[in-house]
Amino acid sequence: MSIPGPVGSAELTLRGVSKAFGAVQALRDVGVDCHAAEIHALVGENGSGKSTLLGIASGFLEPDAGTVEIGGRKLTRAAPAEARRLGLGIAYQDYSHVLDLSVAENLFLAVAAADRPGYGEMNGWAEALLEQFGLVIPVRAAAGSLSLAERQLLEVAKALLTRPRVLLLDEPTTALGPEQVEHFHALVVEQARAGVAVVYVSHRLPEVLAVADRVTVLRDGVGQGTHEAASVSEKDLVALMIGRPLEVAFPERRTRGEGVETLLAVSELRGERFGPVDLALGKGEILGIAGAEGNGQVQFLRALAGVERAAGSVACDGAELDRSSPYGPLRAGVVLLSGDRRGEALFPVLSVRANATVQVLRRLARYGIVGRRRERATIDDLVRRLRVRMGSAEQPVQSLSGGNQQKVSLMRPFLRGDVKVILAEEPTQGVDVGARFDIYGALRAKADEGVAAIIKSSDPLELAGLCDRVVVMSRGRIVEEIPREELGERRIVEAIVGSRGAVVAGEGGRR
């Protein structure tokens, strides 16, 4: 469906844009233009400047140099309100919802003045609107009670509310399952056909290439040229993004003999949105959990860690886990890497050092006093091993890119010698290609030491490449198990689609 070359007029033009955050040069003299009726993909590793570029285009950030033109008019001051006035709509990666307000109130605040209904008619108006976008979301519920997938779809709906000439999408599908992605893409294509200029940022190359007309690549804040989507292969793009051809994507799996010792035994586990689930996990095994979003995968994983309540039995290394609080599993060596990095996994304002050592401070302390030098020596080695890219170990974790943040949370199981099971929820969500491989490598290295891992991921390619075995969940139960010999992206996607049955999209798990 890709159209060769831009057909419409330039709706969004960025020229010579540069931006530095402190000592880090996030963007250097970048130029991008997006035309009417075009879907323009913007790809690059995390930390390559994609989000910064969108921030500047939308007026949220002020560039150090360069200009932004929307619909032929120059953005004279850095203010989102100004960019909106010129016809720009943006769906932020981390949303723009006021979580304590209702869905209807959020939509009401987002809509342009001309289309705004009366205050009292807000709920009916919002319902009609969401129906128009094919979304089933209760309009009176607080935005904070929605699942991540619902929040993501609501964010896109909000961006479309202003009837933008230019639509910016920042990683809009990270929380969506394959079917939702398809539905979403149909919506994007429809917008482009109607003449909207769409800039689509994503780290999921196959997805974005399926709909994009042109692709612009960013690497370390520098543009790597704009290419016709039809004439460039995924492999070429990855090479442009990381600057070297990628040969081995996934770490090698060790061949395992039959009858490996069982480490984690789950029996009749039943929670709010899943169950009953029976599962046995062997030492050194990496098990993937696939499924359409909202089919209980997240809840299952969190129940294992004692974060969500569930009935049934979970035994680790022969001993029943005390799952009444997260503390029991933690003490038994079952570690959860939450998908909500900023909210649950990390202390965003604390340093890399503090985040890494927080669980092992007792070991690093002498007479109750933590030796800074001992702490640094402990993590220095890991920083090199996991290839954490940072200025200094004293840097706040929130100033790192998503991939490097994930690596910091991964440092914890490495520092603790007693970890037996790692439960990872979307370990590479919003993580760039380079860092992904480091994370895969780290997980595999842990597995080779005898640790078992369960990976919940919405990326079938990742599960196929990383895992020894993948189970597919639907409506809270395991409906299919894919052994290692059969693992492949297509096989997993087919299992997910085949097992979906009557599951309604958007019914997703409310947290």
Partner: protein, 332 residues
Amino acid sequence: MRRGLLPPALMTLLILALGAYAETSHSTFLGRSNLNSLLLEAMPLALVSLGQASALLVGGFDVSVAALMTMCVVTASFTLTPTMSGAALLPGALAVLGVGLATGLFNALLIRILRLPSIIATLGTFSILEGASLLLRDYPAGPINTDVTNTLTDGVSFVPLAFVGVVVLALAADAWLYRTRSGLALRAVGLDATASRRLGMATARTVIVAFVVCSLMAAVAGFYLAAEVQIGSPIIGNQALESIAAAVLGGASLAGGRGSFFGTLLAAFFLTEIDNVLPLFQQPTEYADMTIGALILLALVLYQAPELVARARDSWRRRERITAAGSEAPAA
């Protein structure tokens, strides 16, 4: 809105209960003259608390209000002298409001442009105003024009007109806050400033307006304080804490985005009632401070109670459902 109704309901109940108790032991309490003086006495706190509620709504505090009120009294002792009359009083009154406006803009500048935490910024303003007041009047002096004070305290029967005005103002402000888009926008900014900015709202302007309104209300409160003391006194009261207490007792969230102007008004009257009742029982007024402190803590716990109860009930139900599910499929 059920959560929003609890604070005003509780305040009304407490006002009536304390009033009834005081009346049974001292029949003069509900007398016309005592009611009139009680309502007038409540005016400064009522007005400044409404302002404080607006600062709390955007997630800030203004502790400079007490010093600003005193500064306004001191200013009035220079600009509203007893010898003046008629139209000559207008510039003097505007000068007092001007002090409020300037202070509000100064606070807003510190908070929005220099990005200081509001509590620290306004503490600084407090000290500056305190010093300035003492510089102008190092002891109470300079009587304030009685035409002005009489007009302010005018009323029908025992009801001061100002009381009617402040009730109407609070109700109108609540209607605005919960029934209009700009009110919703203000709450959104208080709840989540980043999301609001992304939605294209003028977050900076909202915060600036909220703090200017707070200072202007404190200046108006200063007029009523002047009517009470009737002389240019540099003594600063404890309205900063009491106004925050009133806003919180009235239902405001310390994190911003939630609150009720009418609830705040009721709470301000209740706090004044405590101050007014204690002397009737020959109790030292120090008890008033302790009572108010304890009440704030109690209110904060109590107002969260519906949420805590709902959460407990929710998790209890969930547990029952999970354990009772047996071998059947889980409840979808």
